[in-house]
């Protein structure tokens, strides 16, 4: 029975809302006019900063930490680095002049001298699905090297290298298999990625040491030292900390920390600006929504008084403005979403030539739409509830004779 009167109050509110559709449309427009631009603003902030951060995150080069000059590192030290939680990937590097190889293929007439880069499982430069080079025979090529040699994954290569040994020039050949190609956007130069083991073999050969696994002759190698390493931080946020740690232990490194910091500072600045605008906007928005809903309840006093005259209770009367404010909130929000979508589409279209295919300048997640709806509902329900309670609390005779 009581439930029945709630439902009746809801029905009456709905009838009234659509009967007075011109006024309802005005309320919805007023709401959307404030909410829509706010959503565009947030979409821009989120889209711009978001795509910059994404770029930072997706580009492994931003996480790379390179030692400056050549040092003197042993395997144990590299292994302690590998165990650090903020390090995603680290392999030792041999002397740069030793880490080269002449590579030819059946398809290309030219022999390329390629820089040989040590790689291993988990190398961020290897795209997902590409197996890391392992052993003495498997290699991964950079895209430009693969193009010049006209090979792709699965093809064979002929690697060779030369040394002066016992006063004579000596060249050895090494048949290789291409197991993968690193895309150009990750690595643009000509290069060959090989296992650490193979880079060590190249250095040993050039130093006149023996490499039994490949049948290369020479003296016995002594304790090995590396002159550098390839290291990637787990995330862009770990770069600054790692850099500081290296500097403290006396290793000068080169990082993208400055770039990362720039973007993060921009994020903070844009966020601060956005929140300042949003706060002002939200306050204005709540006030205007509250004021219009409050005024609406005031305008409805006579009709609410009639409902009270026929015996609706306070709690049931409140449903009337409440339901109408929910209609306004939901319809206004929906219109704001339409406005936002149109604006975002326009902005993204306008800036599309400057952007990658996947990038969007103006972007919102479904979660953001949800937050906007929740905020709108909260503000409008609060206003309507307060106004409705006030209307239901005064004597019913007040309002009855208005007009």
């Amino acid at each position: 029975m009581i439930f029945g009167r709630w439902r009746q109050a809801l029905t009456l509110a709905t009838r009234d809302y659509f009967h007075e559709w011109q006024i309802s449309v005005c309320f919805v427009l007023a709401l959307a006019a404030v909410l829509g631009p706010m959503m565009v603003l947030f979409g821009l902030k989120f889209g711009i900063v978001g795509s910059m951060i994404d770029e930072l995150r997706q580009d492994p080069a931003k996480r790379e930490i390179r030692p400056v000059g050549s040092g003197h590192y042993d395997r144990a030290w590299i292994e302690t680095l590998a165990r650090r939680r903020d390090v995603a990937f680290v392999v030792p590097r041999v002397r740069a002049i030793a880490a080269t190889m002449d590579v030819g293929s059946n398809h290309a007439g030219r022999i390329l001298q390629l820089e040989v880069i040590p790689s291993a499982n988990g190398d961020p430069l290897l795209p997902a699905g590409t197996p890391p080079p392992s052993g003495m025979r498997q290699v991964v090529l950079s895209a430009s090297a693969a193009r010049k040699l006209q090979v792709s994954a699965g093809d064979g290569l002929d690697g060779s290298l030369e040394r002066r040994y016992l006063g004579r020039r000596e060249r050895v050949h090494l048949p290789l298999t291409v197991v993968g190609v690193v895309p150009a956007r990750y690595f643009s130069r000509d290069a060959l990625f090989a296992s650490v083991q193979l880079t060590e073999a190249l250095e040993d050969f050039r130093d006149g040491h023996q490499v039994p696994a490949l049948g290369w002759r020479g003296s016995r190698a002594g304790q090995r030292h590396y002159t550098g390493f390839r290291l990637y931080a787990r995330s862009i946020y770990d770069v600054a900390g790692l850099e500081a740690a290296f500097e403290k232990s006396g290793v000068k490194v080169h990082t993208q920390a400055a770039d990362i910091e720039l973007v993060r500072r921009m994020d903070r600045t844009l966020s601060a600006i956005y929140w300042a605008i949003a706060l002002i906007g939200l306050t204005g928005f709540s006030l205007s929504l509250g004021a219009s809903l409050w005024a609406n309840v005031d305008r409805k006093r006579r009709e609410l008084a009639v409902l009270r005259l026929v015996g609706f209770r306070t709690g049931e009367i409140v449903w009337f403005p409440l339901a109408q404010s929910v209609y306004t909130a939901v319809l206004g929000w929906a219109l704001a979403v339409v406005i936002y979508r149109a604006a975002a589409w326009g902005i993204n279209l306008m800036l599309a030539p400057q952007l990658d295919a996947a990038q969007q300048v103006c972007r919102l997640l479904p979660f953001h739409y949800g937050v906007a709806l929740a905020l709108t509902l909260t503000a409008s329900v609060t206003a309507a509830l307060l106004a409705g309670l006030r209307a239901a609390r005064v004597e019913p005779s007040e309002g009855l004779r208005e007009l």
């Binding site: 007075e20 006579r302 409902l307 026929v310 015996g311 004779r401």
Partner: protein, 246 residues
Amino acid sequence: MVLHDQSLPIYELKEVVKSREAEGYGFRLRVPALRIFPGEKIALIGESGCGKSTLLDMLAFVLQPTSCDTFRFQVEKRPQDIAKAWKRHRLNRLADLRRRHLGYVMQTGGLLPYLTVRENMSLSRRVLGMKDDGTVDSLARELGLQRHLNKLPGELSTGERQRVAIGRALAHHPAIVIADEPTASVDPFAAEKIMSLFMEMVEARNITVIVASHAWRHIKRLGLRRLSHHTRRSGDGQMAETVVNG
């Protein structure tokens, strides 16, 4: 409806006072003693501004008395202490009494503009959860509104709207109908017709009725009991007091 002992008054008021103040001008309505019995037809006649609406609103539990010794209302077995309900701010109790026992015809329709005539007339029934049993249709026939049942109030003449309001006040079979100048906004000829129709209808349904009007002429013919009242003004015209007895 289980009607109680006919000899007990529906309304019993003692020393009920309503004071109103507006911009230095004061108005006071005092009811030293008033009893209204079941089935009575009461008329409250007086010039504009003498306090008719004020009294009717108090009798309809929509206006709180400034002070009162006794304000009892009894339709069912248990007497209801209206004075106490107001003092304790039991607005929902009063709403329940209004819903079940009262019909109210206002000076100006008081119809909901977004409901059709039929829905407006059914409103008082719907809030009581009463099923549609043809009452509204027969009321509409009596009031000459059959043609208008599916119109909105905005499409009716003032007199038609007034008749819809009468229909709404009667549709849920209330024990009491209060009418505040139900014909004030229509021409005298129509007023007389509507008033006679209204009185016929309440008579036929044995409803207690309280009507306010400033025209005694035709009310007298309808056989209503007139409440005695007189209005005094202070010398400077700043204060007016109406005393109603009956």
